[in-house]
Amino acid sequence: MAQIFKPSANHITQATLMGLAIGVPTVWLAIAALSRSPANTKVNVPLNQPIPFSHQHHAWELGIDCRYCHTSVEKSSYAGLPATETCMSCHSQIWTNSPLLEPVRQSYETGTPIKWNLVNKVPDFVHFNHSIHISRGLNCNTCHGPVQHMQITYKGNSFQMQWCLECHRAPDRHIYKDETRPDLQPRQQVFNLYWKYQTTGLDGLSERERALMLGTFNGTDNPKEREAGKQLVKDYGIKVQQLADCSVCHY
């Protein structure tokens, strides 16, 4: 009976085994790294839009409140994008000849909506609700990054499930109350922070608020702040035990 394998099969076997031992974890890690990288998550990657709208200009330099355009953010799951009418409230008077705003005027005249490119999205099997997060005093920047300083809007966080769970498993790391304004409802605290930043600059803000405004806040590890957070979680009636249940977002 002839030999089935040639002598070189020894080397092939060894190479294959080595390849599997090194190759599989490498590919595995590469996929993991790639799925977390901005190439996939689009974090910090500005997205081209039909009109180069600048939050930095409108929200920061002009000091227009978030809710002027995102009208339903406090009371609906959907924050709301401004109708062309909202843009034209000012731009029927200002920059009326700007070529950059031509699509806005076109849209207003023809009644065709502007097709903005969606920057922040979650899969359809995730149900996110803006109003509940706002009414617990979580600042917009907690999730959206330093929006008021964005020239072209980009994603501030990955919006991957692991990222959501970081807060849903330990909400006390994120929930806080502005001690300097005990009179504010949590909902009001959200928007007041931008005014506060406008008036006092970064120096007048607490460490947490500064991090929030710069989009670098990832939850606190300070035991005192966490204790206060735990108390608030209790006061607000947040059911921590169920907050990380599947059915909270997937229903």
Binding site: D65, T71, E85, Q93, G111, T112, P113, D124, Q188, K196
Partner: protein, 232 residues
């Protein structure tokens, strides 16, 4: 050959798991696109005459600011501190960009290149001080001059809150015009703690200080207006 069959089955099964129809479901989302409708929009406009259950707008004074073609001169809602605070918050969001935080028509946007034939409304004129509250409601609802309608952005109850706050601003800036002298205003400021619970802020040089007296002054005034209306 038969031995390979399970392998194929496993491969086929694992590939069958790769699909994204849960990720992007064929359902409508707010402001989404839909080819089915001629205008390409998912969100449908309400048909004319649509009334949501329990939302019929019978109360002319409340929903139009006018009764029998005449602007109402009293607030159709009870004047409370909460109402004024709500009004202050909404005013600062939707009105202050143009009208300024004290209502002098000196807002940030007004100063950024408005070339209007008539300048942005300043509430501190005799004309507007005498204007019935219904007028302000009407302007928010239907727009005025270069000002667009805010009816899609501010709901009726909030519009009245804003109207009440505008009155308060008017009283705060010229108490004499409302029969109050300087000393009364000072006394009000002293006896009342700063208005709490609102997003007041120092966006301009003028915002902070005057707040204490404002809301209360406004309260007492509109209270008067109420009484007057009743007397007529």
């Amino acid at each position: 050959m038969n031995r390979r069959l399970p392998l194929f089955a496993i491969a086929a099964l694992s590939l069958a798991g790769c699909h994204t129809d849960m990720w992007r479901q064929p359902k409508g989302e707010p402001l989404g696109e839909n080819d089915f409708f001629p205008d390409g929009q998912m969100s449908r406009p309400l048909l004319t005459g649509t009334i949501a259950r329990g939302k019929i707008r019978k109360d002319d004074a409340f929903f139009t600011g006018a009764v029998n073609g005449k602007w109402v001169d009293t607030l159709p809602v009870p004047l409370t501190k909460a109402l004024l605070e709500r009004g202050q918050e909404r005013y600062n969001v939707y009105c202050s960009p143009c009208h300024g935080q004290i209502g002098d028509g000196n807002g940030m946007i007004a100063n950024r290149g408005f070339t209007l034939k008539r300048p942005v409304g300043n509430y501190h004129t005799d004309r507007l001080r005498k204007m019935p509250v219904g007028h302000f409601y009407d302007v928010i609802t239907n727009g005025y001059g270069a000002m667009y309608s805010y009816s899609s952005r501010v709901e009726p109850s909030d519009r009245w809150a804003i109207v009440a706050y505008i009155r308060a601003l008017q009283v705060s800036q010229s108490p004499e015009a409302y029969g109050m002298d300087r000393f009364e205003v000072e006394a009000l400021k002293k006896t009342h703690a700063p208005a709490a619970g609102t997003e007041s802020h120092g966006g301009g040089s003028h915002a902070g200080e005057s707040h204490a007296g404002e809301s209360h002054a406004g309260e007492s005034h509109s209270g008067e207006a109420h009484a007057e209306g009743a007397a007529h």
